[in-house]
Symmetry: D2
Subunit: 426 residues, 4 copies
C-alpha cells in the first residue's frame, strides 16, 4: 500500500484526507481480488449491480461531483461514462438503464481500473486548500464508496447464487461467528422523551440522520441477541409460512407468487439436510448463527409468531446510544466484533442488519441538500423500511447508532435478520 | 323509511341500535337508486369492486361475524356466499379472487337484495339482550358498511370513467362547493408533547386509532385551505411532471410508465379546454375547487414545487382537535359542510381526503383484536400512506379528528387532495 | 315470428333475403332468452366478449358497411357506437379497447336491443333494387352474425365457468350425443392432385376459402370418428402431460406456466370423480363423448402419443367433399346431426371443431377484398391454426367442406377436439 | 492450423471426417478472436446466448450424443456441464434456464476452452471404425456447430447494440457488398407439379428438409434482387408503419407496444442522418445495401405496400434449384459471393436470409428421428416462419436450395430481409 500510494502521488506527505481516500479506494479493489472479469460482470436482477459497475460508479461520483465541478483543467477520462455510470442522479442527466448494467462488456474491467487510477491521480493532486474546500464532498464520496463496497458483496452473492455450481468467492477463513446461543433475554427500557438522530457535531453522518430531534417512547423491552437459524427453523417447521394471521397483507401476497420459496433466501434442502449458500460456498446451516437474508415480511411474521414485535428505529437507537461500539478486527474480507460481556445487547452492529418496524421517512425538519447530491437519500423516503445496526460486510466507519439503512419490505438479498421487541407495562 | 322499517320488523318499537342499523342499511340501497344491474356489476380494475359486491359483502359481514357465529338456528341464505363475498379474511377461509368479482353475474342484483333482506330480518329479530351482547360487532359492521358506501361511490366513478360516453350517475344538484379561493394563509402551531389517537372513551373508533398516545411535535404551520385546481394547473403547466427534483424516486418511476397520463385522474383536455369527470358527468374544470384524485406522489411533488411539505398525521390531528366539526347537510348523495368562519382551518373534513406524509404504521402499543375481525386494519400497516379528514362521499359518522384512512401512494382513484404544511422556527 | 316480422315491416311480402335476415337476427335474440342483463355483460378475458357486445357489434356491421355507406338519409342510432362496437376494423377508425368491453354498462342491454330494432327497420325498408345491389354485403353481414352466434355461446361458457356456482345457461334437454364409441377405424385415402377451396359458384363462402386450387396429397388415412373423453383420459392418466416428447416446444412452454391445469378446459375433479362444465351446468364426464375444449398443442400431443398425427386441412376437405352433409335438427339451442351409416367418416360437422396440422395461411392467389371489409379474414393469416368441420353451436349455414375456421394454438375456449390421421404407404 | 492439428492428434494421418471436424471446431474459436471474456458473457435477452455458451453447448453436443453414449471409458470433463449446457433437449434431462445463461461466470471462458480441448482430443482419438459408425451423428454435430457459429454472431451483435458506445467487433475490412441496385425485375416461373425437399442422396441435410415430395405451384414471378435500404426508407417515410392495411393483425399489435421503434432493428437517426449498427460499428446507412434485420411482419407489410407478396418457400426452392451456387470467398469473418451474371436471381444465398410467406410446418411424411436428437427440429414446427437462402454470416456448408431456416414472425435480430414475389397469370 505505501508503494501504491507513492506511485500515485509522487509524494510521501499525505494529508489525512488523502490517506482516508487511498485506504477506501484500495479496499474496493481488494474486494475483487479473487474475482475474474466475468465474475465482475454478473447482474442477476435489476436490483443488483455488477462489481465492475460499482467500481466505476463510485469513481464517477468523485469525477462528477468534485473534479468536473470544481477542478479547472480536469479532463474527463471518457465522456461516455457520464451516462454509463450515473446511477439515479436525474439532476446530472440521463442514466444507462439499470437492468442492463451487465451488458456493458465495454469498458472492460481493465479499462475501469484505469478510470479509477485516472481519477485517483487527479484527486491526489488536489492542493490542501482545495481539499479543505471540498472536504464535505470528498467525505461523502468516501462514505458513498463504502456503502457500495457492502452492496458489491451482497450483490455478487445474489448473482453467484443463480449458478448451480455455487461459486466460492473467498476461501479465506470465515469470520468467527458470535453465536446467537443461550436463552434469549428481554432487556427493559423505560420510555419518555428521548433524543435521536445526528448532525451538528463534527462527525460525518448522512443527511437522512438529521436533524437530531426528540421522540416520545413508551416503555419497552429488546431482546439481548438476534434470532438464530435454529429458532427460525422452528417457525418454518411449525407451518409459519402457511398461517396468514402472522403475515402483513402484502407479505401474504408475496407468498402466493409461484416463485416464492418460503424460506430465507440462501437456505437449501439437499437430500433432507439444511444448507446455506455463503460467499464461502455451500455450508451446512449453522443453527446457532443468526438467521439472515429474510425480508421485512418474514421478520415481522416471525415476531408475530413469537408473540413479540419488531423494534422501532427510535427504540433501537436509544438503546444503542448507551452502549459502546465493540472492537473490530478484519477476518478475510469481513469484520468480526469482539464481545462486550458488560453490554446488555449483543450483536448490535455485527452479523446482520436488523429490520425495524419503522417506515423510512424524513425526520422532522429534514432538508435534502440542494443540487444533485440532494438525490442521495431523500427521494427514497417512501415504501421502504429502516434497518439498523450493520452486518459482517459493513465497513467500520458505517457503524454508529444513528445510521439508517433502508430497503424495500420484500427484499431478501440484503444481509438482514431480526431482533425481537416487546411492549412493557409501566 | 318508517314503512320499510315496519315491514321488516312488524313492530314499531325499535332500539336505537336497530334504528342505526336500518338507517345505514337503507343508505346503501339508496346509493344504487339510479344504477342498473349492469352498472352495479362494473369492475374496471382489481382495486375497485362492483356495487353489487359491496352490497353483498357488507351483508356477509353481519351474517358471518354475528348471525352464523352467535345466533342459534340462523340459516345461511346461501352457503356459497361464504366464499363469494369474503373480501380478505383469511381467518374465515377461502376468498373468491378479487380481480374476478365482476364475473359474478349470478347471484343477480335482485338475489343480492334478497340476501340483504334475509340478513336484515335476522338482525332485526335479535333480542335486546342479544343486541347488548353483540353491540360492538354490530357497530363495527355498521361502520364497515359506511366505509363501503364511500368506496362504492369512488369505485363506480372509476369504472364509469372507462366508458367514453362518460356516464352520469346522478343528475341531482351538485353540492355547493366550499371553494378554495383567496390567498392561502399558513396558520402557525407550536410544537411540544401532544396526545393523539382515540379509544377508552365511549365513542366508536377503529382499532387503528388506538391506543391514544403521546407524540412530540416541532413547531409548524398548516395551510388554511386545500390546494385548488387552478393552483395545481400552474404546477402542471410549469412542467412539474417533467422535473425530477420534485418527485420521490418511486413516484418518478410511475411517471415513466407508458400508461401514466401525468394529470389528476379525471382531468381531460377536449379541444384545448380542461374538463373533469364527475359522478354528474363531464364538467368544465372548476379552478376554485380543490384538486382531487391525485396520488401521494403527486401531492408530495406539488408540495415540493410549492416550497412546502405535506403535514404529518399527528400535526393534522392536533390541529383538528382544536376545531369543532361543522354542520352537515345532505345534497343529493353527498354531504356539504357549512363554513365556520371562526375556525382557523377550512375544508378539514369536506371536499377530499388529505394525503399526509405519514406512512400507515401501528401506534405504539397497538394490538389487533383476536380472531378474523383482527384482520380489519392491522395487516395493511405496510406500504400505505395515511390520509386524514374526509371527502364529499364520506358518511357523517366517519368524520372525526382521529380517523385514519390509508391508501397506497400510487392510488389515484380515492377522492384525495392535499393541504400544505411548513416547518416553523421557534 | 310472423307477427314480429309484420311488426317490423308493415308488409307481408318479404324477399327471400329479408326472410334470411329476419331469421338470423331473431336467432341472436333467442340465444339470450335465458340470460339476464348482468349475464350479457360478462367478459372473463380479453379474448371473449360480452353477449351484449356481440348483439351490438353484429348490428354495427350492418349499420356501418351498408346503411351509413349506401343508404341516403339513414340516421345513425348513436354516433358513439361507431367506436364502441367496432371490433378490429382499422379502416373504419378507432376501436374501444377489447379488454374493456365488459365496462360498457351503458348502453344497457335494452338500449342495444333498441339499436337492433332501429337497424332492422332500416334494413327491412331497403327496396328490392337496393337489396340486389347490396346483396353480397348483406349476406356477408348475416354470415358474420352467425359466426358471432357461435362465439357468443363459446364466450359465455368461458365467462360463466369462472363463477364457482357453475351457472346453468339452459336447462332444455341436451342434444342426443352421437357418441364416439366402438373401436376407431382408419379409412384410407389415395393421394394425387386434388382440388380444394371454394368460390366462383353461386354459393356463399368467405374470402379465405378462395380461390379454389390444386394441391398434391400423399396417400393417407383418417380416423372414422373423433377421439373421445375416455381415450383422452387414458392419455392424461398415462402421464401424457409430463412427457415432453409428445409436445411441440411452444406447447411444452405453455404447460410450464403456473396457471396451466393440464386438462381439457372444462374438466373438473370433484371428490375423485371426473366432471365437465357445460352450458347445462356441471355434468359427470361422458367417456363416450368426444373430447372437447383442448387446444392445438393438446390435440397434437394426443396424436403423437397415439402414434398418429393430425390431418392437414386439405386431407380433411378432400375426404369431406365425398360425403353428404347429414340432416340437422335443432335440440334446444343446439344442432344435432343424424347418423349416415353409409358415410365412411362420422362426426364430420357435428360435436366439435377439429384441429388440423395446417397453419392458417392464404391460398395461392388469395386476394383480400378492397376496403375495410378486406380486414375480415386476411389479416389474421399468421400464428393461427386451421380447424375444420363444425360444432354443436355452429349455425347450419356454416357447415360446408371448404369452411376454414382458425384459432391460436394455445386457445382452449373454442369448442374443439380432434380426429386422428396417419401416413399410408402406397 | 496443421500445427494445431498435430498438437491435438499426435498424428498426421487424418480422416476426411477428422479434417472437417478440426476445421469447424477451429472456426468457432476464430470467431471470438477479438472478444474478451466479458464480451463472451453478454446476453441481452433470453433469445440470444452468450458466445461462451455457444462454445460450450456445441461441445456438449459431441460429448452427450457421441462420447458419453458410445465411447467406452470416456470421462466427462465436468458432470455439471450436462445440465449447464443443455439447450432444450428434454430427452437428456434438466436444463439451466435460458434467460440466465449470462450468469454462468463459472466456468470461465478459459475453462470452456479446456472443455473444448478435452472433447476434441476424445473425438480425434476415435478409431476409423468408430468414426464410420458414428458418422451421421458427427456430421450432425458439425452442422449443429456451424448453425451456432452464425447464431453466435447474430447474438453478440444484438447484445453489443445495447451498449451506447456501439462496440466494434471486427475492424477487418467489411465484405464487398453485392449491392441491390438497378431497377428491380420480376422473373416469371411457370407453375405445375414440382419436387422440393432433400434426402435419400448422399449429401447431408437436416431432417426438416425431408422427405423430398411434390407440390403444386401456380404461375408466379420472383424479384431478381433483394429489397434495398433506400427502397425500405421510402416505405418508412411514406408512413408505412402508420397504415394498418399493410399489416397483419399480430404485426399491427407489435407496433402498438411502447418499446417498438418502428424501424429495422439497427437503424439509428443521429442529428437527422441515418446510420446502421454493424459488427464493424456504427456506419452511415448504405441505401444500396439490402434491408436487413426486419421481422416477418415488416417484410410482409413492405410487400403489401409494394403491391406484391412474399414468395412461398416452395417457389423460392424451385427457382433456386435451377441456379448454381456462386463461388464464395472469405472476407474477414464473413462470406462474400461472386456475381453470376447469367443467373436470373441474384443475392440468393448471400447478404441476408429471406422471409417467405410459409409457416414452418412438417413436410408430408416427415418423421423426427427417435431419441433426444429428434428434438432438433420437429418440435419447433409451430408459430414460426420459414426463411430461405443464407446471409453474410452463414457457413458455406449451409448454403443449399433445400435449407429451411425458421424464426418467429416478430424476430428482428436474425439477419433477415426480403425478396418480392407476384402472382402471374397464365
Amino acid at each position: 500500500m505505501p508503494i501504491a500510494t507513492q506511485a500515485i502521488t509522487g509524494d510521501d506527505k499525505l494529508s489525512s484526507l488523502n490517506l482516508d481516500y487511498l485506504l477506501v479506494r484500495q479496499t474496493s479493489k481488494t474486494l475483487i481480488e479473487n474475482l475474474s472479469a466475468e465474475d465482475c460482470s454478473l447482474q442477476a436482477e435489476a436490483f443488483v449491480s455488477p462489481a465492475k459497475w460499482h467500481l466505476a460508479h463510485t469513481t464517477w461520483f468523485f469525477e462528477t461531483f468534485i473534479l468536473l465541478n470544481s477542478v479547472t483543467g480536469y479532463q474527463a477520462f471518457n465522456s461516455a461514462f457520464q451516462v454509463l455510470f450515473n446511477s439515479y442522479y436525474n439532476g446530472i442527466g440521463e442514466q444507462f438503464p439499470r437492468p442492463k448494467r451487465h451488458l456493458l462488456s465495454r469498458p472492460s474491467l481493465n479499462e475501469v481500473l484505469k478510470y479509477r487510477a485516472h481519477v485517483d491521480s487527479a484527486m491526489m493532486a488536489l492542493s490542501l486548500s482545495q481539499q479543505e474546500l471540498l472536504k464535505d464532498l470528498i467525505q461523502l464520496g468516501l462514505h458513498h464508496e463504502q456503502q457500495h463496497q457492502e452492496l458489491l458483496l451482497m450483490d455478487i452473492k445474489y448473482s453467484f447464487f443463480q449458478n448451480p455450481i455455487f461459486p466460492v468467492m473467498s476461501d479465506k477463513p470465515n469470520w468467527t461467528n458470535i453465536e446467537s446461543v443461550g436463552s434469549m433475554k428481554f432487556i427493559p427500557y423505560s420510555g419518555g422523551l428521548k433524543k435521536i438522530g445526528a448532525g451538528s457535531e463534527n462527525e460525518f453522518c448522512f443527511d437522512n440522520e438529521t436533524p437530531a430531534h426528540q421522540v416520545f417512547l413508551e416503555n419497552h423491552a429488546l431482546a439481548d441477541r438476534l434470532v438464530n437459524n435454529g429458532e427460525y427453523l422452528k417457525f418454518v417447521e411449525s407451518g409459519g409460512y402457511e398461517e396468514p394471521s402472522f403475515w402483513l397483507s402484502d407479505g401474504w401476497s408475496e407468498l402466493q407468487k409461484p416463485a416464492c420459496k418460503k424460506l430465507p433466501l440462501y437456505w437449501q434442502v439437499i437430500e433432507g439436510k439444511w444448507f446455506e449458500y455463503t460467499l464461502h460456498g455451500l455450508k451446512p446451516l449453522d443453527l446457532n448463527g443468526p438467521v439472515c437474508h429474510i425480508n421485512f415480511y418474514e421478520a415481522n411474521a416471525y415476531a408475530q409468531w413469537a408473540g413479540c414485535r419488531l423494534p422501532t428505529e427510535a427504540e433501537w437507537e436509544v438503546a444503542a446510544q448507551s452502549q459502546a461500539i465493540p472492537e473490530t478486527r478484519e477476518v478475510g474480507l469481513w469484520h468480526a466484533y469482539g464481545l462486550d460481556d458488560q453490554a446488555p445487547l449483543s450483536q448490535l452492529y455485527s452479523e446482520c442488519w436488523q429490520w425495524t418496524q419503522s417506515a423510512y421517512q424524513p425526520y422532522p425538519g429534514f432538508k435534502a441538500p440542494v443540487g444533485a447530491v440532494g438525490e442521495y437519500n431523500g427521494k427514497f423516503m417512501c415504501n421502504q423500511m429502516v434497518l439498523r445496526g450493520g452486518c459482517r460486510l459493513t465497513p467500520k466507519q458505517h457503524i454508529r447508532s444513528s445510521y439508517r439503512n433502508f430497503f424495500y419490505p420484500q427484499d431478501q438479498w440484503p444481509m438482514a435478520g431480526l431482533r425481537l421487541a416487546k411492549d412493557q407495562d409501566k
